[in-house]
Subunit: 272 residues, 2 copies
């Protein structure tokens, strides 16, 4: 067990294990976005970093069928940063909050060697979607196209650069689709660590396995930070979900079925 | 303006500026507790660090007259930490949560050079106490004895060591007193940066100054991380507040009065 998993395994609240913790109609999610773990400084502008750090947190809320309302931001900032750089960071936080109708209600800053952003998103839902809820025979699906984020990461690691709109730089959250789809969804999470890894978690949460019904390349299976929605549904909802996908112009891939057994992720853990 | 203050100044929600942000009956507070900023690793055990990081966050909730209910913990952990060390950390988080009736509902971990703990506390109140609300003529008071934390810090910086119960190692929160006192309190915050600095913030929030009615040493004025309650109240409540202090065995010092003007903190900013 890696150290991250070990620490989380020590915390045993039944509210832990989803993309967010549900308390009444509120959902709380918290993700850290850290220099040299999730990004290198030379890859992205501070505005891009701030925006992506918000989006990866908003993605958790969406995966729970919750509407993000409030944010708290904790930032560890290198002492060398100028006021102009700080303004670029805070400006991007505020712009992203505004674009998503989120009110930034608090936070904390401290100094440190590397830029680290820890965000808490408070979101609202009357009908949360959990990782648990998938049944044998349910269809497995994801939104969008996957694989590009890992390709982008590899380009960056080779010293190349990426366009501002590439997936690694700027996830495109499928909120419009997912909020409409949620009533027909039995279980969901976002794809943050790769379809393979996240599917293994979704399956484990339901004591089920998965059978793929269409071929996927290793790049598609193992590309993390896609921030697409991974979910399952009862086959009788296929038509309505396809219609919602069409209405919201969201690519939708039905790629498998939940079966008895266990699903093992075929990807190596990757860190840079 | 220092960088921390600059970043916070860019965030302009009216909910920002107190020890926590109030949304309905919920209060959200978030504080970062970071190695080489708030502590050095050799000064304290991991259990002490984890416990103090929780207490400084719980202190914010108490200062708002809110009862802590849930916690989210984000930790940046050096790769060198062993499983035994991780267990010491998580064990202390859980024990502190248990002692305060707080449910740990989520979190995130990542690796990094220095141990950094970012905690979000979700607390409940029907009657929040804010920094704003103090009027001219109100009495200024604080709980406990102050000054010891700075003395402890100086001892540590000279290479000395501290007892496990010394203030710097383990703040003693005055929850029992403050929840009873809150109905009679006009404005409050906790003393995290020193009486002088925090009083200047309390005064600024109310466009008032302060006149001291008893002498304080520089050590008392400038000792941060006391986590005592600093508050103001209408003089007609003096008797009842003294009685609550007696009932809860809480030292209470009435040290001044809110007056017209402005209060300037006489302390230097200290970093180590």
């Amino acid at each position: 067990m890696n150290k991250e998993a070990f620490v989380i395994s020590q915390f045993t609240s039944p509210r832990i294990g989803d993309d967010g913790a549900v308390v009444g109609e509120w959902v709380y999610s918290k993700d850290i976005f850290a220099q040299n773990v999730h990004f290198k400084r030379e890859w992205m502008s501070l505005a891009q970093i701030a925006k992506k750090s918000m989006l990866v947190n908003l993605s958790d809320a969406i995966a729970m069928n919750a509407v993000p309302k409030y944010a708290l931001i904790g930032v560890t900032i290198p002492r060398s940063y100028t006021h102009a750089e700080l303004k670029e960071l805070t400006g991007a936080f505020l712009a992203t909050c505004k674009a998503w109708g989120v009110e930034l209600i608090g936070g904390d800053t401290t100094s440190g060697e590397r830029l680290t952003i820890s965000i808490t998103i408070i979101s609202h839902t009357k009908n949360p979607v959990f990782r648990k809820g998938m049944k044998e025979g349910h269809v497995l699906a994801y939104t969008g196209r996957i694989g590009e984020s890992l390709k982008g990461l590899k380009t960056l690691m080779r010293g190349g650069s990426l366009g501002a709109d590439s997936r690694f730089m700027k996830p495109v959250l499928k909120a419009a689709f997912f909020y409409k789809a949620a009533p027909y969804v039995s279980a969901a999470m976002d794809i943050s660590d790769g379809l393979g890894k996240d599917l293994s978690r979704l399956c484990a949460a339901n004591n089920l396995g998965a059978r793929f019904t269409c071929k996927h390349t290793k790049a598609q299976l193992c590309s993390g930070e896609e921030y697409e929605m991974l979910f399952s549904f009862d086959p009788r909802y296929e038509r309505i979900l396809r219609r919602i996908a069409e209405q919201t112009k969201t690519p939708l891939t039905l790629f498998g079925k939940a079966v008895r057994g266990r699903f093992r992720c075929p990807c190596k853990e990757h860190h840079f």
